[in-house]
Amino acid sequence: MRALRSKLQRLVFTVLAVSFLTFMLTSLLPGDPARQILGGQATPEALAAVRDDLGLDEPLPLRYLEWLGNAVTGDLGRSYQTGQPVTEAILERAPVTLQLGVMAIGLALLLAVPLGVLSAYRAGGAIDRTITGGTFALLSIPNFMMAILSIYAFSVYFDWFPATGWSRLTEEPLDSLRSAFLPALSLAAVNIAVFTRLLRSDMIATLQQDYVTMAEAKGISTSRILLRHALRPSSFSLLTVAGIQFGIVISSSVVVEQIFAVPGVGRLLYDAILQRDLMMVQGVVLIVAIAYILINFCVDAVYTYLDPRIRHGTT
């Protein structure tokens, strides 16, 4: 319980630090939000009126405290550009990015687990070398390049998946899976490589344990040894990294959502930065930071559950 309280305190401190830094840094970005709203022909009077309306003339610390006070009550302010409440804008788009993240990590695990197990089982052999080479190739392709390549391969050439656009999971589930597949694949590519390599090295270490030798001596089948006895103890690092990667997938979605025209949080953030919509940038970064911290918090909790040595305070 004490550990939980301590973790929560650290979480609150981290969120505060993130929000303060984001507010200050975005406020220091060059570009006048009032001019972005009114355009080049704006009269000085109109510019002054907009600045006053948005409270841009008030001192920065005062603006931060006011924003923070409202944020605690769930009010992240209104977009400078659209007038839409920031919370509403984020809630509209969060399911989209969440779906992409889950699909990307799911897809990565789905492919990486068998590849990692196979690679470890055949360590040093031709299959292992092929898989290792493939993961190196995946690691070296940036996600925006993977996005463009997958569009040309799976949309233009094979015509299997749509190149752009989005359907909501709640409205058209099958179309939604189709429209999310290529963005998820682009986000998953690097993770497939990371997960495969991580699992491979952990599995190799596990397969050298005495209890595995014992299992083999008892005549247990290879597949049972690999999947029942070796995979679980080899998955702890994979689980931790998958959690961290989930947060990274959310930040990578800024680029991928742009390319695939996906209306997610990443795209919202990108457009807000370009439009100097500081209130929106601030809100999105805060929510993403909180999500990132919570995911890691949950991973820690699951990790404790899965590994009895941690639960019982032993190593």
């Binding site: 009269t43 000085p44 752009t164 695939f260 209306p263």
Partner: protein
């Protein structure tokens, strides 16, 4: 156990293949529906509150709103939604009469009272972004149920052009009042050929046929989905894969790709818009015309255009109007200081050895240039091209990569020497040139701060007469002045393209209600209300 695992793998594969198997088919999702890929969109659709001037957004705006006036194929402004617009003798009063029987999408009538409410409560509100374009309009009166009169505080021959833009797109004041500005901006109600259905910001906007449209037989399409695809490659790939039926591009490299696509048509247009380097004529040493001329003489425009993607696509610019424009002047094209490094070197030497040189440096000290460019790869390459050319004639060139927002801010504050910029548009020359070169004291968009008595006189003529020959002469005089005083340099005019399935007809063939041909699809702005899908 083994078979269960195999079953799971098979299920996963089936799911992927099943989702993939649903691919293909028409992009529009219906017989008479289409999907259009756009480069960007606006932040809201309420004139006065949101910037509705970027070209991709105009595709949507002209589907939902009808402009009071539009430009015909000869470049003349003619009534479109309006029935007539008549000025008084000195162009200070403009009387506009509306067509009878036109209704907004919510069923309320378009009449003089609606125009008056829109003008008073939205277009001229304290924070309206149309206060600049409407700065010469003192008031608007209702004459009768279908007639209003605009009172201007000075003669303005370009006033009709203001009514072609967002200040002349009537929207339902009833709906705007009921919803409030923010909600209306996300749910626009106009008189256009299509009614707004839904909008997912920065993703897609859907409109459907307006059954009660005032132009009989229009629109031809039942539904249009405008999809925002910012990535150029993805937008072109979406056209190739059939996810969109048409797409637009304002990028040179993409225009080339669209033209090379088999099975699709490229509807091209060369815009007046042209790139170049803006000089702050208040800032030494650029306050000296010799230096500005030297900079122009040093540039090999064709080489710069090749760095940007190809001189074969983009005509070299020498003035604010492209060669096909009615305002283009061959005389100006000849007079522009074309590449002549020897002459450039001579002018730099003259300035360097001038004891009264404007930058206050001693005789013989090098002339230093501070040049801001945006960090786009092709623009950086272009910047390096300028560096080589300008340093070859004796300048010291410092290049700074800055964000677009910094360019915008320094343009406005005057704290720059040379900024990468873009010049000209498809507007009336009075509006375009007055905004760019009006009295710097009262014109916040005169970023070069250039002014000259000949410029002032010709601007006055241009903006106070409707006679084309007189106006043409005024534009030519201004352009000739620029060849001597060089407030900025040029690269090339902008090639644009709308790529579309061949079944989409009449992309650029829209007409006025009386049958007069319109101005096509300037800068990829298509009048979708008159586009049809072939059987």
């Amino acid at each position: 156990m083994e078979s269960r695992r195999r079953g799971l793998v098979a299920m996963a594969l089936c799911l992927v293949l099943a989702t993939a198997g649903c691919a293909g088919g028409s992009a529009g999702g219906g017989d008479n529906s289409i999907v259009v890929g756009l480069e960007s969109e606006t932040t809201g659709w309420l004139p006065g509150q949101h910037l509705l001037t970027n070209y991709p957004s105009l595709n949507v705006a002209y589907a939902i709103y009808d402009p009071l006036l539009r430009t015909d194929e000869n470049g003349e402004l003619r009534p479109y939604l309006a029935k007539s617009l008549v000025p008084n003798e000195d162009l200070t009063e403009w009387t506009l009469t509306l067509r009878p029987g036109v209704k907004f999408h919510d069923g309320t009538p378009l009449n003089a009272q609606a125009l008056k409410t829109i003008f008073d409560e939205y277009l001229t509100a304290e924070t309206s972004n149309l206060l600049g374009p409407l700065r010469f309009v003192e008031s608007m009166d209702i004459v009768d149920d279908l007639t209003v009169r605009y009172h201007l505080n000075q003669p303005d021959a370009s006033f009709p052009a203001v009514l072609e833009g967002p200040a002349g797109w009537p929207f339902s004041p009833t709906a705007a009042a009921e919803m409030g500005p923010d909600e209306f901006a996300a749910n626009p109600v106009g008189t256009g050929p299509f009614k707004f259905v839904s909008w997912t910001r920065n993703s897609e906007l859907v409109v459907e046929r307006n059954e009660n449209y005032w132009q009989e037989g229009l629109p031809h399409l039942d539904k249009i989905t405008f999809q925002v695809i910012t990535d150029e490659n993805a937008r072109i790939a979406s056209l190739q894969s059939g996810d969109v039926d048409a797409m637009q591009t304002l990028r040179q490299s993409s225009v080339r790709q669209v033209r090379e696509l088999d099975d699709f048509e490229s509807h091209d247009f060369i815009g007046n818009l042209a790139g170049g380097q803006l000089f702050n004529t208040n800032k030494p040493p650029l306050d000296d015309p010799r230096i500005r001329r030297a900079l122009a003489y040093a540039i090999n425009q064709k080489a710069i255009l090749d760095l940007l993607g190809g001189s074969d696509l983009s005509p070299l610019a020498t003035q604010w109007y492209q060669p096909e424009s009615r305002w283009y002047s061959e005389r100006v094209a000849q007079a522009w200081p074309h590449n002549n490094p020897a002459k450039a070197r001579q002018l730099v030497q003259e300035y360097t050895n001038d004891p009264n040189r404007s930058d206050g440096k001693p005789v013989g000290a090098p002339v230093v240039l501070e040049h801001n460019i945006i960090p786009d790869p092709s623009v950086v390459e272009m910047g390096l091209g300028y560096k080589a050319m300008w340093e070859a004639v004796g300048f010291v060139h410092n290049m700074h990569q800055v964000e677009v927002a910094v360019i915008t801010d320094t343009n406005a504050s005057g704290d720059f020497m040379i900024n990468t910029s873009r010049f000209s548009n498809e507007d009336d020359p009075c509006i375009t040139l007055r905004n760019a070169f009006g009295d710097p004291a009262v014109t916040p968009t005169n970023y070069s701060n250039f002014t000259h008595p000949v410029l002032e006189e010709n601007l006055r003529t241009l903006c106070t007469t409707t006679d084309f020959d007189t106006r043409y002469q005024a534009v030519e005089n201004i352009m000739m002045l620029f060849t001597e005083f060089v407030p900025h340099t040029w690269t090339g005019h902008t090639p644009t393209a709308v790529g579309a399935r061949p079944e989409l007809e009449n992309i650029g063939g829209w007409r006025f209600p009386d049958g007069t041909m319109g101005n096509g699809h300037p800068m990829t702005v298509v009048t979708w209300g008159q586009v049809r899908l072939a059987e």
